[in-house]
Amino acid sequence: MTLLGQFALWVALLLGVWSATVAFSGRWQGREELRRSISGAVYGSFAALAVAALALWKGLVTHDFNIEYVAAYTSRNLPSGYIVSALWAGQKGSLLFWALVLSLFASLAQVLTPRRYAALLPYVAGVTSAVTAFFVCTMIFAANPFERLPFTPADGRGLNPQLQNPGMMIHPPMLYLGYISITIPFAFAVAALLSRSLDTGWIHAIRKWTLVSWLFLSIGITLGMWWAYVELGWGGYWAWDPVENASLLPWLTMTAFLHSVMIQEKRGMLKRWNLGLIIGTFLLSIFGTFITRSGVIASVHSFTQSNVGYFFLAFLAVSGVLAFTLLYTRWPSLRAEVQLESMLSREAAFLFNNLLLVGVAFSVLWGTLFPILSELVRGSKITVGPPFFNRVNIPIGLLLLALTGVGPLIAWRKASTANLRRQFTAPVASGLVTLVGLLASGMRDFYAIMALALAGFVAGTIVQEFWRGVRARRRMHGESVPLAFSRLVARNRRRYGGYLVHVGVLIYFVAFSGMAFKREMEATLKPGQSVRMQSPFGHTYTLTHMGVSQFEALNRIVSAATVAVAKDGKPEGLMTSEKRQHVDSFKRPTFEPSTEVGIRSGLQEDLYITYAGSVNGTEEAVYRFTINPLVWWLWFGGFVLVFGGVVTMWPGGGPTVAAPRRAVAGYEVALVGGGPE
């Protein structure tokens, strides 16, 4: 099967090169057979990569340990689910997975794009094929998943224990889907520039794709936080690690794009900015891949260091130069149709929202690269960890949260004083009441207070928007509240789905603020000994060590330390944290013992128990106990955010036939209003 896999990779490479060459040469114009060959090559590339992926999967499932990748990431006793997910567990396999999904998305873009954008499709195929060819080329020449060993081991090394978690079966594919699908909006942007079709057509063509990318990135990042929380055992979910940062960067710029694109649709403004954002988002996705795979910056999430980093660096540089040069050549054709009229307008609020989102992205990028820069300039190595990122980014994040509430309240074009008073009174009161309540309760952590008070303000804006919409429907149609609410959302999915996303964001901030009150302690306990720990909410946990039991399970020897939990003296049940020594099918240890934490999750807080080890091989156990306030809300916020995203992109909620008219509506209205532009 490896021969077939190798052959399939070469076929995919040749098809990709063909498609890109013909598309960019422009010779397909007026020659239908050539035009068809471009999209045909895209489908063929997908088929070839599917064959290659099946070949590798067959090697994984049949334990063909002569294949280096199979021996490195699986073993005979690895649970079958992880054998399947081993395809994306390592550098080489994940590159194949990436190329496969990209070719799938490229094919879907050819099939699903409405015919009115047909002129863009050959260029879209050219870009997606070029990117696919790059990934296949990297595989063939630097990270071949079908590489064979000179001997066949009796068993494989097995999968890293930290990857043996259900989250790892979902989190990487979600993140990859987010990263990969960014290529499609980028391809449409380049196609629009190449074909000089610079109206709002390309924006409408990529609307679903941008939302899909953003949604997958959101899911991937949230699942990544969850995986880090339950698997890495340090009691947190975000460490500002370079690889984590790399996933956040395109999410931030994509979020900025999703806001600024509304201004282009409605007012015909920000054309250059939007193209720049899409190009920047694509480049950041490649940059993230470079960071993850090059080993240039130390990270606990990195793949093994290899020379694929040079491939990505070169690709990043070439695609960046080409894309921005192309944008520069079309600069004069991208003038705004109207100009911003007032700082007190929704356009201005969105502009500042974009400024802050891109500012946070720059800040995160800057912090990630600052150690390299410092070493280059001063010759001394520094560490840039969470204290740095928190100090720089929390103030910007709070401003962004405030704008989340401000944006929807201000009218398009220009807000009057009466409009501002009417819109802001209730939300500001909501924020102030929250602030006073927190201060009265004794809370003194400045950033937590600000985050919660601003969350109160944003919640006020969203409730007000929903309430006014429901009230208007009730007045006009006489509907009941639930019916008016559901129809309000169903008939205006983009707007109210967006508000739901804002609800998710504010819940995130509430959850983040909880970590300011984290409690942690260590204890060594003999069976029967207890330790008391006070929650920031005021109650006391009594944690009693019950003992350590050892047993064999699947591919590991498990040492389970059990703790009896009582809350204010009332028994709450047992919690278990484990040490797992993974072994191969010959019972030989494969990795260092890993830790599985015990988590008791509630609306207020999580009780988080880590079994650190034992004293002198006895049942006397060393624990770390952590109380993490409001963590449950992070996962709930993620759910709300994704739900809001799904509502926004649900068919029927997108731009209607009236959308192109909206782009010029502001201009028409301005003429009627009397003020020349």
Partner: protein, 197 residues
């Protein structure tokens, strides 16, 4: 999952900050006596030392949260020694912190001693001085500068537009009132409604 109701939760949210930190303490309850031996001691990793009071002292923890472990994990010393139980660096660094603390050094003196011994990378965040100020200040400064520039640009444009309007009062109808037909007004209302979406 806790059975806490939403109302209870909201009512008690304020209590979150009311309780002063540092009330946690190891209990002095006696154990039941016998401590069994594990069948496979190697399966639980490196043997652990008995935790001492200084291992979770709030002051020591605060210092260690500001010091980077040098095993390559990217975590701080406290988090690494209580998370990565295979790491041999962080326990050693912890012992150094405890020894300096017992010798009467202040937190800042301990941090300075680590920088002197291991270089600036021993800190989880660089000191905000010299070249490092670029790291701390550049993002915020750029955002402020861009915001101010945007504000100035829009304000100037607004003045220009207003001046142009004053110089050419007949260039456009002064309003939709007297010259607009009901059909035109309805079209305008619909356009505005769409824009307000």
């Amino acid at each position: 999952m806790s059975s806490l109701g939403r109302r209870d939760f909201l009512g008690r949210l304020g209590a979150l900050a009311a309780v002063p930190a540092g009330l946690q303490a190891q209990d002095s309850l006696a154990g039941r006596g016998d401590v069994g031996t594990l069948r496979d001691p190697y399966a639980v990793g490196r043997p652990r030392d008995v935790t001492r009071i200084e291992d979770y002292d709030e002051r020591i923890k605060a210092i260690e949260h500001r010091l980077a472990c040098n095993c390559g994990c990217t975590l701080d010393v406290f988090t690494c020694r209580t998370t990565d139980f295979t790491c041999t660096y962080s326990p050693k660094l912890h012992r150094e912190v405890v020894a300096m603390d017992k010798a009467g050094k202040s937190a800042q003196e301990i941090l300075d001693a680590f920088v002197a011994e291991y270089g600036e990378k021993a800190l989880m965040a660089p000191k905000p001085e010299g070249f490092n100020l670029w790291g701390y200040l550049l993002p915020g400064s750029l955002i402020l500068a861009a915001g101010a520039g945007l504000f100035a640009f829009v304000s100037r444009r607004r003045v220009t537009v207003a001046a142009a309007g004053a110089e050419a009062p007949d260039a456009a109808p002064s309003g939709a009132g007297p010259t607009a037909t009901p059909e035109e007004l309805e079209r305008l209302r619909q356009a505005l409604a769409e824009v307000e979406d």
